[in-house]
């Protein structure tokens, strides 16, 4: 029943076209020329980089795009160096494109809206013949585009998306996430918080009132309560809120001595700035110093909060100050090209592009089902996060998680966070049927066509 659901424009675009003026009407069926959506038949392959270029996450999107451009250079072997290809444990990639085809790319603007992101991804698939879509800076967009890619029969390599749902209730066989998630943040942060602040604490949560906020709050509450903290209150704040004073003012009255800000992006910058402005960090409650925790840190966003991040704990997927060979290689090639160190968003996007290319190379085909097979259960190293597993059951990467702290004496505008602890992967691993990830199923891979 499903006829050609998405086009094979990539085929036409890249192959030499003959027979001018010759009409060749063809109705596509599953048995037609191409075995899967947008099968590249020429000497190039097109990837779609779908990142936010307008709206609040535009700078993060710009950094993602820089990383993708770098990845394409490395894949094609045209860069100044080979970045992480040197350190990547799989040696399938040769620097001659993917399966010998030169990598080309198209870009689009997600606007951090799911409708716009899907429109942009669809145009990449239908018009430009993209065989893989990647990027994005929010979970809403990731879930929406992932579902689209499943339907269209192309691979989706998620960019920055932290909600449990992306590889939980909304997981899809054609979608893969390298970034860590809310659960991992909780599991990594809790022991460090216990060590720093003790196990007898009262926490007050301010939570962004949407899916990502819910999963993060749930993860942090359950992991901190497990070590003995008490949750005094959890308050939902509207996404569109800019001034958080009315939420922060009552915190001290509640008797809490820790404030957890389950906010990201602009919300995080504003709520943290407001909290520091209220002088919460200078207060003594229950005989202890009042503390603030930001579960998901991003250096780009930390920059927006300025000096307010000093001494505040959070977790992050990767940081440029890591000293392993892979991170150093990536920072060097990114920094040489652009003049500043990459963000965690850039890192995860770069790695995702390489992982996809490597999977295709190992599978010997661009067919999504082959790629899925190659990525499922794939174990690798040399990508900046230590030994990593792409788990087959939910397409989530399992790797070390960084617990970071806002640096007291930054030496430059990029030097905002310092790594407190690298939480080993074993500590953040959970079973695939964990209740925080319940519901939803991967389904099976869809090659489209």
């Amino acid at each position: 029943m499903s006829k050609s659901n998405f086009t094979r424009r990539g085929l036409l675009k890249t192959s030499a076209v003959g027979g001018a003026g010759l009409a060749v009407p063809t109705i596509f069926t599953a048995s037609s020329a191409s075995a899967f959506t947008n099968e590249p038949t020429g000497d190039t392959v097109t990837l779609g980089f779908n990142v936010p270029q307008s709206g609040p996450y535009a700078d993060e999107g710009a950094d993602e795009l820089r990383a993708y451009e770098l990845a394409v250079e490395h894949l094609n072997g045209t860069g100044a160096d080979n970045g992480m290809l040197e350190t990547f444990s799989s040696k399938a990639l040769k620097g001659n494109g993917i399966l010998g085809k030169k990598v080309e790319y198209v870009t689009g603007d997600t606007q951090t809206k799911s409708d716009a992101a899907r429109a942009s991804a669809k145009s990449m698939i239908e018009k430009d013949g993209a065989v893989m879509i990647t990027g994005g800076s929010s979970s809403g967009v990731a879930v929406a585009v992932q579902a689209l890619c499943q339907e269209a029969g192309v691979i989706f390599m998620a960019g920055l998306t932290h909600s449990n749902d992306t590889t939980g209730k909304d997981k899809k066989a054609n979608g893969f996430r390298h970034f860590f998630n809310s659960y991992m943040s909780g599991a990594a942060l809790a022991p460090v918080l216990e060590k720093m602040y003790g196990s007898d604490r009262k926490a007050y949560h301010l939570t962004a009132d949407y899916n990502w906020g819910y999963t993060t709050e749930e993860a942090i509450v359950s992991s901190t309560e497990a070590m003995g903290w008490e949750t005094v209150n959890t308050v939902k704040t509207p996404l569109t809120q800019t001034d958080f004073s009315s939420y922060i003012a009552p915190v001290l009255q509640s008797g809490a001595d820790v404030l957890v800000l389950n906010h990201y992006g602009g919300n995080m910058v504003n709520s943290l700035t407001n909290a520091v402005q209220f002088g919460l960090r200078d207060k003594q409650v229950n005989g202890k110093n009042f503390e603030i925790v930001v579960p998901l840190y991003s250096r780009l966003m930390a920059k927006g909060a300025g000096a307010n991040v000093k001494g505040i704990f959070g977790s992050t997927n990767w940081h440029w100050s890591l000293q392993d060979d892979a991170s150093k290689a990536f920072v060097k090639s990114f920094g040489t090209k652009y003049g500043f160190p990459p963000s965690q968003a850039a890192h995860t996007c770069y790695v995702q592009a390489l992982l996809y290319a490597d999977a295709v190379e190992r599978a010997g085909t661009f067919n999504p089902c082959g790629v899925v097979e190659a990525l499922e259960g794939f174990e690798f190293d040399g990508m900046g996060n230590g030994p990593t597993l792409y788990r087959a059951e939910d397409h989530q990467c399992f790797k070390d998680v960084l617990v970071v702290k806002g640096k007291e004496n930054p030496t430059s505008e990029f030097d905002l966070l310092e790594i407190v602890e690298v939480t080993p992967v074993a500590q953040v691993t959970y079973p695939p049927d964990h209740p925080q990830f319940a519901g939803g199923s991967l389904g099976s891979c869809n090659p489209g066509a």
Binding site: S54, G55, P56, Y57, A58, D59, A62, D209, N233, V235, K236, T237, P238, T240, T242, D243, S245, S246, Y247, A249, P250, L252, Q253, G266, V269, N270, T273, N274, V276, Q277, F278, G279, D282, K283, V285, L300, M301, K303, G304, A305, G306, A307, N308, W320, S321, V331, K332, G335, T336, P341, T411, S412, F414, D415
Partner: protein, 343 residues
């Protein structure tokens, strides 16, 4: 009890921001009759005046520090602001620290200039055009202004802290006899409240007690007649536009330590400021101020957990809910004049 006092206090501060933005908008929208969708952009430009001034103050030349290395292992380049060279490091630091208050002086001429250019160059031609055209042109202008700022400053919020003298908070609770730490309030927000009160008072006094203000008020009521009396009302309206832009800009400057400014902050405030103006009633300056404080306080109270436990999600919709109730019970908002923007 103390929880409610706290939220009222909080709402006064929030309200002062709303009132200040709405005041500027109502000067243009409620009185000149122009639906100005670029008003949020004016607020945003004001905020970026503060950013720009602090950038100017920290204009630097680089000195290479051989003892340290940067992230690539090269010798670290340290930026030394020129202001250190002029005033020495100690004084220089103080000046940089006080960048936001200093920006007020910087922002007033800039904003008046922006307002006057906008009115003379664009808005003037739209007084007689339908509101729909005004919306399209000012919205287009807002996007352009926003994108220009984004081009130069990026999309991320830019931290613009208050002078260090104003960090921390004032303990009202202790003063009023409650337990310490129950009612605290940041110093900068108190400054903002006082600042808003001064600006609002000044605008009212200007319109009420000066001849210029009298003519403008007459012009609002009946532009044609005032024109027939041989008074150049156009020129005065231009000045009014400049004044409105300055009010919006100053609101923006002082707001920067509260929320780090970014290029789309104007759009975030745009809808809200229209709601405030309309709830206050078209053409009424006191109405706009009153509505600003009212909505600020109600918003604060709606965010109390005691309220949210009973009505979850109320904090999401409170502003709009109040707007609907007020507009249904009072046809022209709180203090609106008959016949303004009703057709």
């Amino acid at each position: 009890m103390d929880a409610i006092i706290l939220q009222i206090l909080n709402g006064l501060d929030k309200g002062s921001a709303y009132a200040l933005i709405a005041l500027g908008l109502t000067l243009i929208f409620g009185t000149l009759g122009v639906v100005n969708f670029a008003h949020g952009a004016l607020f945003m430009i004001g905020a970026f005046c503060a950013v720009t001034l602090s950038r100017i103050l920290t204009l630097s030349h680089t000195v290479i520090d051989e003892t340290k290395t940067d992230f690539l292992g090269n010798p670290l380049k340290v930026d030394v602001p020129y202001i250190y060279d002029i005033f020495g490091q100690a004084t220089g630091d103080v000046i940089i620290d006080w960048a936001v208050p200093l920006s007020i002086l910087f922002a007033i001429p800039v904003m008046v200039g922006v307002g006057v250019i906008m009115e003379r160059g664009l808005i003037k031609h739209f007084y007689k055009r339908p509101h729909a055209d005004q919306i399209l042109v000012t919205f287009g202008l807002a996007i352009v202004l926003q994108e220009v700022i984004k081009y130069f400053y990026g999309a991320n919020p830019i931290p613009t802290p208050a002078p260090s003298a104003f960090t921390g908070s004032f303990d009202f609770g202790a003063m009023l006899g409650f337990d310490p730490n129950t009612i605290i309030y940041p110093y900068w927000r108190l400054v903002y409240f006082a600042f808003a009160a001064i600006i609002i008072g000044a605008v009212f006094a200007f319109l009420q007690f000066t001849t210029f203000g009298m003519v403008v008020r007459a012009g609002m009521a009946d532009r044609e007649t005032v024109g027939l009396l041989g008074i150049n009302i156009d020129k005065r309206f231009t000045i009014m536009f400049g004044l409105a832009a300055a009010v919006a800009g100053l609101a923006g400057v002082m707001y920067t330590p509260i929320n780090s400014p970014n290029y789309h902050m104007g759009m975030d405030f745009l809808v809200l400021s229209f709601v405030v103006v309309v709830v206050g009633g078209m053409g009424s300056l006191p109405g706009a101020v009153l509505a600003g404080f009212l909505l600020g306080i109600l918003e604060s109270i709606a965010s109390m957990t005691q309220v949210l436990d009973v009505l979850p999600g109320l904090n999401q919709i409170i502003i709009y809910l109040v707007a609907i109730i007020i507009l249904l019970t009072r046809p022209r908002g709180l203090m609106g004049r008959k016949g303004v923007m009703e057709e």
